[in-house]
């Protein structure tokens, strides 16, 4: 195992979370954006409700721009990307310059667009590409297994959280839970076993997990 301090472990974990948050919410945003083109103009309200962020937008147009690019909005994509970058930039030694570059480029695309795009699902595809490239590069380049396990622990916890909030099908939730637990056990992070067991029990209910959705999220949040 390489030299990973408490702060670095924390940075890796949150890098995983924020990167995943940008990726999944951006993909979801594209779906809702599509709906708002010629369907329900207020679909963004459902989006805010599902991912539990305050609806401060007031209109479709405002949401479409601010949720992506408003650096003052702590829930915006760009704010989350900034946080991913803040955690990544201090991990150059562990991630490597070539891997870190994908986080830098994803952020640069968002900053470069700066709210000017009128075709976000087209213009911001690059952000998704860079983040996927980041994960690929990370798998390939980061030698330290513990380092990979911690960052993926963050990634799958975030994904599980979002999938549950967004009401994904049981199969998808079960798959992500399995990935999360696999990394959790190998990460060396200390966690609450009883919360893991509670989650496992709920996920095992199949589609019935949704009946205990709140409890599942609570267990997930208190696992560390």
């Amino acid at each position: 195992m390489g030299a990973i301090s408490i702060e670095k472990a924390d940075r890796l974990f949150w890098l995983g979370r924020y990167t995943e948050r940008v990726l999944t919410t951006l993909i979801t945003y594209f779906d809702f954006y599509d709906e708002m083109i010629d369907g329900d103009e207020e679909a963004y309200r459902t989006f805010c409700d599902k991912i539990a962020i305050p609806d401060i937008y007031g209109s479709k147009e405002n949401f479409q721009q601010r949720y992506l690019f408003d650096q003052e909005d702590p829930n915006s994509i760009i704010s989350n990307m900034e946080r991913a970058f803040d955690n990544a930039v201090v991990m150059r030694g562990e991630l490597g310059t070539y891997t870190l570059a994908y986080i830098q480029m994803a952020l640069d695309v968002l900053k470069g667009e700066g709210g000017r795009t009128d075709a976000p699902a087209y213009d911001l595809q690059q952000v998704i590409d860079y983040l996927n490239a980041f994960w690929g590069c990370m798998d390939d380049q980061v030698e330290d297994e513990v380092c990979r396990n911690i960052i993926k622990c963050g990634k799958y916890l975030e994904r599980l959280d979002l999938y549950m909030r967004l009401g994904y099908p049981a199969k998808a939730v079960e798959k992500e839970f399995s990935k999360f637990v696999n990394r959790l056990h190998r990460s060396g992070l200390s966690y609450r076993k009883e919360d893991e067991e509670r989650l496992a029990e709920i996920v095992a209910l199949g589609d019935g997990w949704k009946d205990r959705g709140e409890e599942a999220l609570e267990a997930l949040w208190s696992i560390f």
Partner: protein
């Protein structure tokens, strides 16, 4: 060379991609900026580099002997080569370092020596940076990228490879390592040179550490791992200033630093690179005496010249400075990074008088130098090549041997009327090619 110019934008784009930036504080806010890169390199012939190598190694060897002497016997003072007051009134002199013998007896492991080449083709030393000189990472990564952009240039011209800097750094750290891992100690990501800290750590295989990652136990320094494990640290390449290294020795109110680090160092259980207290030797006032040190410690004449310098501390020099203030460049010895540099020729009569008054009141604070009319180097601006002032920061690494890195950071002013090349003042950088034959 044309290929390089054609790829200027691509290279700068790649530098942005890899986060090659420096930080700057403006109005108490931190901003990260790209360091503008110019593709036209400074070219140094093999013969010229051989000369620089001799002069720079000689200088750093003498400076290391000076530091060893100042923090022990002080023979150079006793022998009247350097006035006592001049040493003890230096802000960089740290009484807390008295009697400490660092591992390998090396004080300045990584020296950044700033030079310019005059129009008379002579090289002049402008200043020595023996505390935490930065800048090696920029030409190092720029070379990596320019080789990609213009491969045929590099197969046609025989250029010494400068990408060995990280290996040289590792050898330097390993040489003084007292047992354990090497760490690069950074104050954090909001430091102006954070890119360099993280890049050099990555490339040299050292562990990038924040002060809170390190702790002292039983007179040893450890890196605290998550999960309660610890790793002993044998060498700290510190990139934070002396006064923030250890609150128990220096600034008790400091929230950064590693409590007890200086005790571990004093006992010889860790190497600190560069050694605390080096500021006494790179003081702009002490600079005046470096040729004297070379003669004193090595019995040799200095190979490289200082810029003609006057010390306001000496009455005779002070009078000269006051008489010729309008043609000299005055430097505040306590400033760095291009700050506190005043060109007399740029001041109004009233401001000259104000400056003269400050010099009279605080003579130890200032040196004055003749303005060296140094050569211009071409930079690409739009579709044209335009001349700009440029200096060279050479890096000298002292381990088992004292070696000069066959490259360096060439900084240039982007302002046609300015001699100030510092990145913090808007300057850019070039690679420095040393021809291998």
């Amino acid at each position: 060379m044309f290929e390089l110019v054609d790829h200027t934008e691509d290279i700068n784009r790649l530098l942005a991609r890899y986060g090659v930036k420096f930080g700057i504080y403006k109005n108490n806010e931190f901003h990260e900026q790209l360091f503008p890169f110019d593709p036209l390199p400074r070219i140094i012939s093999a013969e010229e580099f051989e000369f620089l190598d001799r002069g720079l190694s000689q200088r750093v060897r003498a400076l290391n002997l000076f530091l060893a002497d100042i923090y022990s016997d002080k023979k150079i003072i006793k022998d009247g080569v350097i006035p006592e007051d001049f040493v003890y009134s230096s802000k960089g002199y740290l009484p807390q370092c008295e009697g400490i013998v660092p591992p390998g007896r090396i004080y300045s492991h990584i020296s950044g020596i700033d030079l310019v080449q005059g129009k008379d083709r002579n090289w002049y030393i402008l200043e020595d940076n023996l505390r935490i000189p930065s800048g090696a990472s920029y030409p190092m990564i720029a070379r990596e990228l320019t080789r990609r952009a213009a491969p045929s240039t590099f197969s046609r011209i025989h250029i010494s490879d400068n990408r060995n800097y990280a290996a040289m750094l590792k050898e330097t750290l390993d040489y003084v390592n007292t047992g354990g891992i090497n760490v690069v100690l950074t104050p954090g990501r909001y430091n102006a040179a954070f890119f360099e800290h993280s890049y050099l750590a990555e490339r040299s295989g050292a562990v990038l550490s924040m002060p809170q990652d390190l702790f002292v136990e039983d007179n040893k320094l450890y890196y605290r791992q998550y999960g309660g494990k610890k790793l002993q640290v044998g060498a700290v390449y510190r990139r934070l200033s002396d006064e923030y290294l250890d609150p128990l020795t220096f600034l008790p109110e400091s929230l950064i630093g590693v409590p007890g680090l200086m005790d571990v160092y004093r006992k010889g259980n860790v190497a600190i690179v560069n050694a605390p207290g080096n500021g006494v030797a790179d003081d702009k006032g002490i600079y005046y005496f470096v040729p004297h040190m070379i003669k004193y410690y090595l019995g040799e004449e200095a190979v490289l010249r200082n810029a003609p310098t006057y010390l306001a501390f000496y009455e005779k020099d002070r009078n000269f400075i006051l008489e010729h203030l309008n043609r000299l460049v005055v430097k505040d010895v306590s400033e760095a990074g291009g700050y506190g540099v005043i060109f007399g020729s740029e001041l109004t009569k009233e401001k000259l008088e104000d400056l003269a008054e400050v010099i009279r009141t605080e003579p130890r604070r200032f040196i004055a130098q003749e303005v060296i009319d140094f050569i211009d180097l071409g930079i690409v601006e739009g579709d044209h090549e335009v001349p700009r002032k440029a200096d060279l920061r050479a890096f000298v690494l002292a381990g088992e041997k004292t070696r000069v890195w066959p490259s360096g950071l060439t900084r240039f002013s982007r302002n046609p009327d300015s001699f100030v090349v510092n990145s913090s003042q808007g300057g850019g950088f070039k690679d420095t090619w040393v021809l291998s034959r």
